[in-house]
Symmetry: C2
Subunit: 426 residues, 2 copies
């Protein structure tokens, strides 16, 4: 393959003409596909359907501790659910509170509580002139949306292959206005990489100027491996922080949204007892207890971490060919052309693509024009502003393999076309 | 019966001796009963158990609009759930958003959002020197806990037989710092009365100085009648406000916590489209979608308002004898003694008891000492301060009839004993 940048103008013009023809053909197909979000596929959801058989009208709705899960009570969640999610995160059940369906809400509430009531006794952020968060980029748009919603200034931290640029993180936290960092440490959204042990070590050893600085450790993809034989690993950040005498510095979040049912699973926070007391201070005002019926349903269905792992192997069997199809298409069609780079994750929900500078918005627009919705370009950056206009998050989970084939081919076509136009306009 | 206040000192002393003996006997029984919260009884929860049969592994998990309830999406809740809860409140589905399990959380979030972001574009309350709420008393302790949590000053508004003292309400809302009023309009907590049409008319016609004043209309007991033939009725406040050109002034809340499962039902807000847009402005940051599986489970189980009513008739069959047992005991043991008054509700979860001034705390303490936990005296007032120390909330739902008999008898005994002591110490 000749890299596009080495092509003569006439070659580029001829290529453009050919690509435009292909694009017109594609547009004529009247596609209507959505690859914008990390939604599980129907087949994945089907796999959890036996969970619907767990209960019936005659079932004894008491948990192992004798709690009637149909009535009020147990603010922290039933013991079995704390144990199950704790096991998934490698954390003792005492350090886990189980909530309702959405870890996103738990994170939102945590930021909201910090704004109105401060963190474990610190000054409420609403009384401070300036509050800042570190945002490794590219990152998860919904994290950035929370901090933006509360008027928190976001500082982008470049990601490298091992995680966030820790030199920069260590420098930034000298500012007492910096109160947090968003982390998706494993199979990160959208890169798909996992923080290295060294990065985790440096994170657990941070020495922030702000005593109310918290690491928002969103371990959303901790059991979401694609392969049996090649899996990333992540150390337990809570015990690392505790070993450093900084057990209050980290708040870990997770849910089963991408394990059981999206938006109907169970979620949790794992943290020091001090942080949990702080969480409960508001929680006890906010709710009497979360859905313990659904908690018990999950406990009885998955039983333990082995049960979750077994279940996730079935998910992987569906996800793996989708990832491979996209990666194969990218390699086959774009390999060697010098117009894009991409990640090759071993788990999670996303592939991250970087186009030539200044092309991402146009590629996404071209795809949409032909009927394929991608995550908006820029979404992976705070304020939706990608300074290089190059990052595109690819979410291969939801479409069928057939749809994905069409989508991936349209995508590489749009990348080529927009890149050629870019080179011609240089 | 001779009223206690007409007894001579010697008679009171003799009575005291006799009551103390009875109390010691009671204390010796080693009771351990909890009548502190409005928890449904196990028998009520049993009635909803067929809901556990609604789904099975082969069920087609799509709603009437074709939505896969197992996946993300539908921020506002599935259409069927909006229709079902809308029907229950007499409101169009378009004006209803269905949430997770707890209307308490929806109310908390609404106040929290007002504090951090203001109400439909108004100044966020955290930037104001003073924010006040009107609190009809006696009222619901968890309402007062929310406003207290956010540092909102609470102004007690006396309740009369028709609802809150509207003269006082109309006077108070001339203060632009007054931003809301907590209302449980039907079978109110703890009085059990229902706001009269005239009170509702005056509420819907309020002319508050603050444009961001909202009526928090917590319609928690809208279908919780005890009798078929004697039922309170409540007009639809939303349409009354709309008719007055004040459709944005009211936020209505409800849930099925005391219909299906406590803490595992579905909840909603009903309001003007303007208010709903405001709610969604934060909600879209906070969560992707609530538990639509549980929403569909409720829709398919109850089907419509008739289904809910039929179900609630079964609840009433359990609740009615409990209310009657307590009321009969109060009447039989305290009638004519002039040491207490109480309400005789036609629905809801509570009976409100007023002792002689300055006796409530001591009555509750005496009951606890003998093994029966009541709602803390004062809990029905802001800051837990009952200026007369007289109101006690009786929650007869959770104990069995046998337990309730013991409890009610202990209660009247403690009322007598504390009243005699009070009269002797005058």
């Amino acid at each position: 393959m000749t890299p596009y940048c080495e092509l003569e103008k006439e070659e580029l013009l001829a290529l453009k003409q050919e690509l435009e023809k292909q694009y017109e053909d594609a547009r004529g197909k009247g596609l209507k596909l959505d690859m914008s979000r990390g939604k599980p596929a129907s087949e994945q959801l089907d796999m959890t359907m036996p969970m619907m058989d767990i209960f019936n009208r005659d079932f004894d709705m008491h948990d192992e501790k004798g709690v009637d899960v149909r009535n009020y009570g147990n603010l922290e969640g039933i013991w079995g659910a704390r144990r199950l999610l704790g096991e998934m995160l490698g954390v003792d059940p005492e350090h886990v509170i189980v909530f309702g369906t959405a870890s996103l809400s738990v994170m939102y509430d945590t930021v909201s509580r910090s704004v109105t009531h401060g963190v474990m006794g610190s000054t409420p952020w609403c009384r401070l002139d300036k509050v800042k968060f570190l945002c490794p980029v590219p990152g998860y748009d919904r994290h950035f949306a929370i901090t933006e919603h509360f008027g928190i200034e976001m500082i982008p931290i470049p990601m490298n292959e091992e995680g966030p640029d820790m030199d920069m993180v260590e420098e930034c936290i000298k500012d007492p206005a910096v109160k947090g960092i968003w982390c998706v440490p494993m199979y990160t959204n959208p890169l798909g990489i996992t923080y290295s042990d060294e990065v985790c070590r440096r994170i657990a050893d941070l020495n922030p100027a702000a005593e109310d600085f918290r690491i928002y450790w969103d371990n959303a993809y901790c059991v979401h491996h694609l392969y049996d034989d090649r899996q990333d690993t992540l150390p337990d950040i809570l015990s690392m922080c505790r070993a450093n005498g900084k057990e209050d510095m980290v708040l870990e979040f997770a849910s089963t949204s991408k394990i059981s049912f999206a938006g109907a699973g169970i979620s949790c926070i794992a943290a020091s007892l001090g942080n949990l007391e702080w969480v409960k201070h508001s929680m006890t005002i906010q709710i009497i207890s979360h859905d313990k019926i659904n908690q018990l349903r999950h406990v009885l269905y998955f039983k333990d971490l082995d049960g979750i792992r077994e279940h996730m192997r079935k998910h992987a069997a569906i996800m793996r060919p989708k990832f491979e199809l996209v990666l194969d298409t990218l390699e086959r069609e774009l390999g060697g052309l010098g117009i894009g780079t991409w990640t090759k994750p071993l788990g999670g929900y996303f592939i991250s693509f970087d186009s030539m500078e200044g092309c991402a918005k146009e590629i996404v627009a071209k795809c949409r024009e032909a009927g394929v919705t991608l995550t908006g370009a820029g979404a992976t950056y705070p304020y939706k502003k990608d300074p290089h206009d190059s990052n595109i998050r690819i979410a291969p989970s939801y479409p069928t393999l057939e749809e994905l084939k069409v989508t991936a081919e349209l995508f590489v076509l749009c990348v080529k076309l927009v890149s050629v136009e870019k080179l011609l306009n240089k």
